[in-house]
Amino acid sequence: MEQQNRTEANDSLKGISRWLHFFVLPFRYEKPSSFLKDSGEARQYKGLGLGGAPGRAPQQVKRSENMWGTLMRIWSYLAQYRVRLIAVLVMIVIATGMTLLGPYLIGHIVDHYIVESKDGLLFMLLLTAAVYVVQAISAWLQNIWMIQVSQQTVYKLRTDLFAQFHRLPIAFFTKRQQGDLMSRASNDIENISSSMNSSFIQVFSSTLTLIGIVVVMLSLSPLLTLLTFTVIPLMFMGMKWISNRTSRLFRMQQRSIGALNGFVEETLSGQKIIKAFGQEEEVIKGFTSRNENIRLAGFWAQAISGFIPKLMNGLNSLSFALIVGVGALMTIWTDSVTVGIIIIFAEYARQFTRPLNDLANQWNTLLSAIAGAERVFQILDEPLEVQDESNAKPLTSVVGDVEFHNVNFHYDQGQPIIQHASFQVKAGEMVAFVGPTGAGKTTLISLLSRFYEPSSGAILIDGQNIAQYTRESLRSHMAFVLQDPYLSEGTIMENIRYGRLNATDEEVYEAARLANAHSFIMRLKDGYQTELKLGGVGISQGQKQLIAIARALIADPAILILDEATSSIDTVTEIKIQEALQRLMKGRTSFVIAHRLNTITQANKIIVLEKGKISQIGSHEELSQQEGLYRKLVQGQVVLEA
């Protein structure tokens, strides 16, 4: 009995404490100060034992290093829309003026035309209506004009960035992560776009409004104006207290989001393994732990930054109360204030804190947009691939004789990469480059196609130095079949035609037939119209090679550059590839970076490279007789990295 009573009491106590718990729960979160300290850089994540995936930390609001330079740079994009921007400014001035005038007129009407019943009310009402219409129209116009300008600018910026990517030296892309470049092209530019749409206008109109309000208020009643100003120090103190806390919290939140994104990216691309190993629950645990961090930082960031509008509202009401109260006393004790003035003042005081609030908000957005712009400009400022000399002429026709004449190459101030390379190739011959990784095989090819320029010496095609031709025309006489076939998204037809954009359908079919690709393409449901997807289940690696060969065939180049694939391709397909390559090389000067002996034995000339120097030149038979790397290779004493 007693027992029961006690449990009942316990129950009701639990009931109360449950209620209490309900109310205080949101305040019971781990305090921000405690986790800000230990979390300096890396918080330990649970699950999977994977270290905190670095991920990309997105859009951190960071102060840019050269803000004025970046701003001037943005201006250089905007400058061509000068007229329109001036129009926007005019509209801002008009809209702001009208916004200020409206309440004034209404106060005036109440004072003089209703309380005092003066004549001409209709006229005053129409005038006020006109003011509001002008305000509405100019507000709309300023927005849409600004949007037009900013979208044009963003369009230009995107196009510039895209074009820049295709003018940068290839080496640039080996240094950079594609994810990072993509994030500049999408996130950063989006950031610029959205803040240009609104922030610029906001900043201008807020400043103007602020000035306008102060002027009007002063002219109405200096004393009441001073009264309104008393809330400003309070506001600054409050804002400072809040932003001191939130800026750290927001950074913390961004970092957590970055970690989560990195984790998600990795687990999405490893989905196959996760499924096959049945590790779903484990990755979910890992995700939860990161997600919890976002929640923790996010909760405090949001709760504290949520004080801002409350503070503004509170201060607004406070100044409202002060104005009405003190204003009322003043109407009684002095004659300097009328009821109309109180109305106007109350309204202006409400409008007074808003632009200040907006300015504070926009400042952050602007800073992050400028930081984004800087990241974009960084890319635009990268040194370009060497551009054609002004007197360069197009290379019109090529027979195919190639000569390297004492070619040396080193990067700026760097170690020599190629030393004294000299050899001659007759049109239609096949040359195989053999040597360990880093010996300079790829560099020789890059010199021939002028991705690099020799430091000294000359490369001649048909007896003419290639330095005198434009790069694009030079490359148009070459075709490349690379290890990675680099097909792009689109139909098979489009991919083959990429070799020569004006090729007819018939020519595409013919090229595919020669490349042994036609039969497998025809077996696909959509044939030549089959869409190739990046990383999709589409077609096999070997089949991609065949398409790449067809693409080279249709280009019909005089010079062919081939980087033999090392990946394991099944024997049947490999036979097909070899056959297709034979057809492709026929009658063309071919340079092959070779990995397979049977390819090399067919070459007219084998060039053995060691540490940037040509150590042996000759045919398979000749070199097999000589002492040297080649014989060791053939005998299997030395192996090369694939």
Partner: protein, 587 residues
């Protein structure tokens, strides 16, 4: 939208609490003009200082009270929104993990990532905003209207005129904006896709000299995005001007009426007029907030629709809680009979009538052209995909009847493409069996012939690999993936052409080591050196098994096999083909 309400419902208590607090705040705000009219009527007009002080003091007091309430409600609403966002993120990620592999394939990875991060953020912010402003603005409008009506119904009636028009207009705008924003978002995806693709094939574009062609294509997409964005924004910006004109028009009408009523001798006080005007101005402010909210909501609901698409994938895998069943040890007796398989979304038959049997502990090698269906056979064993016809059994039981988790715990799978995760070497191996001791990890590494290489790394098993860490060669990564599969001590080991970068010697050692384990091995290979060791060889071509037998039998029976054998013998005569694939460890 059901998902949305379902998730929000979990926090209904706090949502209600936050809304109540907001109402209190609102009440205070709404009372203020009333207090003002008291000050004017009882104070100024009557010349009563005490009354001014009384009502003025009340005004200040309520302000401070409202501020305190606001701070408290900030906690509740961010509690709701952060937990809601947490749950939603968790929900999407879990449903992505629970999706069948096939359903997963239908989403682009990048788009899933944006849904999990960006779209959830959008919705979460909308919820937060919702509790604080969304209801506040309409409530402010309604209560102000009611107060105005209470003070002077005749005057306030003029304000009511505008509302049918406004609500119709704003509703229409919201529906349109939602559509427009979705279109813009899609265009943006398109532009980013073109950019990404072109970044991926930057070398190809360069060597073919197709820069201007690419630029032109990009410009086209980019221009479309610009045009879409501009039209959408111009449209979205319409809301505010319309609100300004409508409401202020009503105020002016009301003033006109006020004058009339005064002249007719109606009992209207100046204080009343002033208060009603003040309420009307508050309504204007709140309404322009609403027009902004309409835009934000259109965005958030577009995001929610994208999230819902993920939730609505019904194609889930059967995943019971792993602890529900006790571990089951399979023997590894695999049989395929008459299995046919077509990849979803594809019309080409990948496998046709595939039948074979493997006894426990045997090594079955599969050979055939790329795309002939070997990898698909392995994936069917893991139940990543389901066969359309035929039966696959393990230990005599249809694999569909196994608990998925129990089945997979018995399988060690090494895919063709290498997938390692950011983390240490040990972490990556342990990934196969999370509770593996360091000894077990080392044992697996030894079996996979990678132990010595690991010991040469700067921090041994604690060396970081991945984006920030050491770069391993292809062969090393392959062996690491094999170690990850071996640490599970699987009954069934599936090796999908994952020894391509190993030299003959290492591969032999690896196969010797695997041979000593008691597990059934299905292995895809292109190398004769491997097939000679197999208990049985399957020749797959165009989705069909053309021959099955031992190496010797096939040399007799299959001309294709003989042809491949001879072509590889030819190469191996000089030991070239395989030797080139061996990694040169010295720089």
């Amino acid at each position: 939208m059901r998902t949305f309400t379902e998730y929000l419902f979990r926090y209904r208590g706090y949502v209600i609490l936050a809304i109540i607090l907001m109402l209190v705040e609102l009440a205070v705000e709404v009372i203020q003009p009333l207090l003002m009219s008291k000050i004017i009527d009882e104070g100024i007009v009557a010349g009563n200082v005490d009354s001014i002080l009384l009502w003025g003091g009340l005004l200040v007091g309520t302000t401070i009270f409202a501020f305190a309430i606001g701070i408290v409600s900030s906690f509740y609403s961010s509690y709701v929104s952060q937990n809601f966002g947490f749950d939603l993120r968790q929900g999407i990620y879990e449903s992505v993990q629970r999706m069948s592999y096939n359903a997963f394939g239908k989403f682009q990875e990048a788009s899933l990532l944006t849904r999990i991060s960006n779209d959830v953020n959008q919705v979460q912010n909308a919820v937060f905003m919702g509790m604080r402003i969304l209801l506040r603005a309409p409530l402010l409008v309604i209560t102000s209207l009611i107060m105005a009506l209470a003070i002077n119904a005749k005057l306030a009636l003029y304000l009511v005129i505008a509302f049918p028009f406004l609500s119709f207009f704003l509703g229409w705008l919201m529906v349109r904006n939602n559509k427009l924003f979705r279109a813009v978002q899609q265009k943006l995806d398109q532009v980013n896709k073109v950019m990404q693709q072109s970044l991926m094939s930057v070398r190809l574009i360069r060597v073919f000299g197709r820069m201007s062609h690419e630029n032109k294509q990009f410009q086209q997409q980019n221009e479309q995005l610009r045009a879409h964005t501009v039209t959408t924004m111009i449209f979205a910006e319409l809301a505010n001007p319309v609100v300004i004109i409508l409401i202020n028009g009503c105020i002016l009408l009301m003033l006109w009426a006020a004058r009339h009523q005064l002249q007719m001798g109606s009992p209207i006080t100046v204080g009343e007029i002033v208060a009603v005007v003040n309420y009307a101005m508050r309504i204007t402010g709140a309404l322009s907030m609403i027009s902004w909210i309409v835009t934000a909501l259109a965005r958030a609901s577009a995001s929610m629709q994208r999230i819902d698409e993920v939730f609505h994938v019904k194609d889930h895998e059967q995943t019971d809680a792993p602890s529900a069943q006790k571990p089951l040890h399979l023997k590894g007796d695999i049989s395929f009979s008459g299995v046919c398989f077509t990849y979803p979304e594809s019309n080409m038959k990948t496998l046709t009538d595939v039948s074979f049997k493997v006894k426990p502990g045997q090594l079955l090698a599969m050979m055939g052209a790329t795309g002939s269906g070997k990898s698909s056979i392995l994936q069917l064993v893991t139940r990543m995909y389901h066969s359309d016809a035929g039966v696959i059994t393990i230990d005599g039981k249809n694999i569909d009847d196994y608990d998925l988790h129990q089945l997979r715990i018995n399988i060690g799978y090494v895919p063709q493409e290498i997938m390692l995760f950011t983390g240490t070497v040990a972490d990556n191996i342990r990934w196969g069996k999370l509770d593996a001791s360091l000894e077990e990890v080392i044992e697996a590494a030894k079996l996979a012939q990678i132990h010595e290489t690991i010991m040469e790394l700067p921090q041994g098993y604690d060396t970081l690999i991945g984006q920030k860490g050491v770069n391993l060669s292809g062969g090393q990564k392959q062996r690491l993936s094999i170690a990850r599969a071996l640490v599970r001590k699987p009954s069934i080991l599936l090796l999908d052409d994952c020894t391509s970068a190993l030299d003959v010697e290492t591969e032999n050692k690896l196969l010797d080591a695997i041979n000593k384990l008691s597990c059934t091995v299905l292995l895809v290979t292109q190398k004769m050196s491997t097939t000679t060791r197999a208990d049985s060889v399957l020749i797959v071509d165009d989705g069909k098994v053309i021959k099955q037998g031992t190496h010797e039998q096939l040399l007799q029976l299959s001309t294709l096999y003989r042809k491949i054998y001879q072509s590889q013998r030819g190469k191996e005569a000089t030991e070239w083909s395989n030797k080139t694939e061996q990694k040169l460890m010295t720089p």
